[in-house]
Amino acid sequence: MFALWIAKLLILLLRLRGKSATSLPGKVAMRLSPKLLARLCNSLERVVIVTGTNGKTTTVRLLAAMMREETPIITNAEGANLTQGILSALLAASNWRGRLASKTALFEVDEATLPNIASCMPVKLLVVTNVFRDQLDRYGEIDNTIDKIIAGAAFVRGTVLVNADDPLARHIGLRFAGASKTFGFSPEGASMTGFDGVRDGAFCLQCGAALEYDGYFYGQLGLYRCPQCDFSRPHPDFVGHYSQGLLQFHEVGTPDTSYRVPVRGLYNVDNLLAAVAAARVFGISSEAIRSGIDHFKSPIGRMQTFSTSPQSILNLIKNPAGCDSVLTAICADPAEKVVCVGINDQAADGRDVSWLWDANFEQLAEFGRVHRFVVSGDRALDMAVRFKYAGVPTASVDVVPDLEAALDAALSAAQSADGLSVYVLTTYTLIHKAAALLAERRVADVEIAYHRASVS
């Protein structure tokens, strides 16, 4: 009880001082009582966990909106996906005697933390979005990440739902002893063109042969098969097809449905597909899913639109695969635009910025119709060099290390060129600052609703 009270007190103090209590109370409570997490979890009845490299936050936000239509849930703050973040969420939802406000929880969990978390709660559903190489984990430890997810999945008493289009996620599904289900795009959305960057799933994890593809969706996601063994992309249990702002959703044995897509970018459509499939596995009706989507607000830095003058769209970039998805979405916007990229190299960003060279900035230089580039952050000059070697003339790049000045430079360049959109891309430690600065520069009170079809 003591640890619980201290942590509750801390939450109260942080809130009184206007601070958010997303991780610190959990961290303190863990120090005082390592068993507190397991104790608090005792009264949970149903837990859904979303893990994977990219798309966790958006998927959780979407799924949370859908689940809330039917039941109150406990969920962690965006990005607070380590043990202390989950413990903080439980502490905030508990009273002084350790009773939780709800018996249902939905958590975004970091891949490496998954075994620890899954072992102490009743996980009914585990969703694996995808597995890519992360910049914080660049020394070839992707095998290790997969092992961690497999170890975590072993604690699931229910269903493991994986992305059928990702060979690494599929492998995890196959290694799960219980029921596993899959979601994926319909094959007509695949293409053979584009992207030839680093594909982490290039090899069959069952036998080691190089996988062959009949088409790609993005990154390593596509219609793969192993030429040597029987490993191949399955026909997904839940199939999604994107067209004209709608996700057509097909599930065996039920009539086809369609849902409005409240997010930009194909990878975000994939997150919506994951969320809808998870909601269906969880038994949520399509009416509740639909009204959940209407109540959804896009999380910070995921194609987040600000009604600045002209409008700006903020994106978090943190690894080549995620960055490439953002760049592809920007290229799919046919209008001219200004692009502002902020790169820091603090611990939370990843100290090593070499991943910038694995991301496909060439596509932006070639197909992006970018009127002007602004680079910012501690590594503004690295980004400027990156653009130079991607084929951008140095005269089109402004180096403005200070983020506020950079955003103003980008907005004013966009304004004087007939009000072009400004796409802002930053690493983790710049994203909250960028969101706050753009919010200050809003001209209307209302955020612009998602309106443009930006996925080709």
Partner: protein
């Protein structure tokens, strides 16, 4: 100029950590901006390298598992590799690729992976990984900045690429980083290595062009952006005033 400079990129499907792409991009762009024609040949592990047709070989780094596969492949042709290297074939080897040029590298579990024995060099595991920004002074090209991330500790009996001003280097002890022997450059520096170190990129290009019998007097390029990035990192990680580049 009709003859192309041929750059072999070894085992891109296995050794693709640490943004080798950035090194290739830097080499090819700096040649093209000067009017040279250049061809990059990806050599997969299933093909056998045709050493006599290359003017420069790039060997990158991979995970332990991938690197062990590469070592097995390379070892089959070790006498060809030794002959080509001693007759002046330029090789740029980074991280894992660097370790493979020695007699062996030992894995944390104790197993020894046989290297090409091109260099009198060995690599053993140490306590913890050596990770962080690194700044090096080099006689070849002035100064080098980048990032290192390696578990292995490397010792050799050749000239180093440079001396460590800030960071760990080959083994975290002797303040040396990398190796320079014949036309071989081996290093733990990525980040990637060449974009922010244009003088080193041109040094590598000059030796490749000479080896290819192509004109090697490289015209200067407008490197203000690269040098600004270089100096910015140098200043962040060292207290030492830099010689003018």
């Amino acid at each position: 100029m009709s003859k192309s400079l041929i750059i072999a990129h070894l085992f891109p499907e296995l050794l693709n950590l640490y943004a080798d792409k950035g090194n290739i991009q830097t080499l090819t762009q700096r040649l093209r901006w000067r009017g040279y024609s250049v061809e990059v040949r990806p050599v997969k592990a299933t093909q056998s390298p045709e050493l006599e047709s290359y003017h420069l070989v790039l060997l990158g780094g991979g995970s332990d598992r991938e690197q062990a596969l590469v070592a097995t492949e390379l070892y089959k042709q070790r006498s060809e590799w030794r002959a080509a290297a001693s007759s002046g074939l330029p090789i740029l080897a980074v991280c894992g690729g660097y370790q493979l040029l020695g007699d062996f590298y030992q894995l944390p579990g104790g197993d020894k992976v046989q290297g090409l024995s091109i260099l009198d060099m060995t690599t053993v595991p140490g306590e913890g990984r050596l990770i962080g920004n690194i700044a090096v002074e080099s006689e070849l090209c002035g100064s080098i900045v980048g990032f290192e991330n390696h578990g292995g500790r490397t010792h050799h009996n050749h000239a180093p690429l440079g001396s460590v001003v800030s960071g760990y280097g080959n083994n975290g002890q002797d303040r040396q980083e990398g190796v320079h022997h014949w036309n071989i450059i081996g290093t733990y520096i990525h980040g990637p290595l060449l974009p922010k170190n244009p003088q080193l990129a041109d040094f590598v290009l000059r030796s490749a062009l000479t080896y290819a019998d192509l004109p090697a007097d490289l015209e200067p390029l407008d490197d203000r952006m690269e040098l600004a990035a270089h100096q910015h990192e140098w200043a962040r990680h060292t207290s030492k005033v830099q010689k003018t580049l």
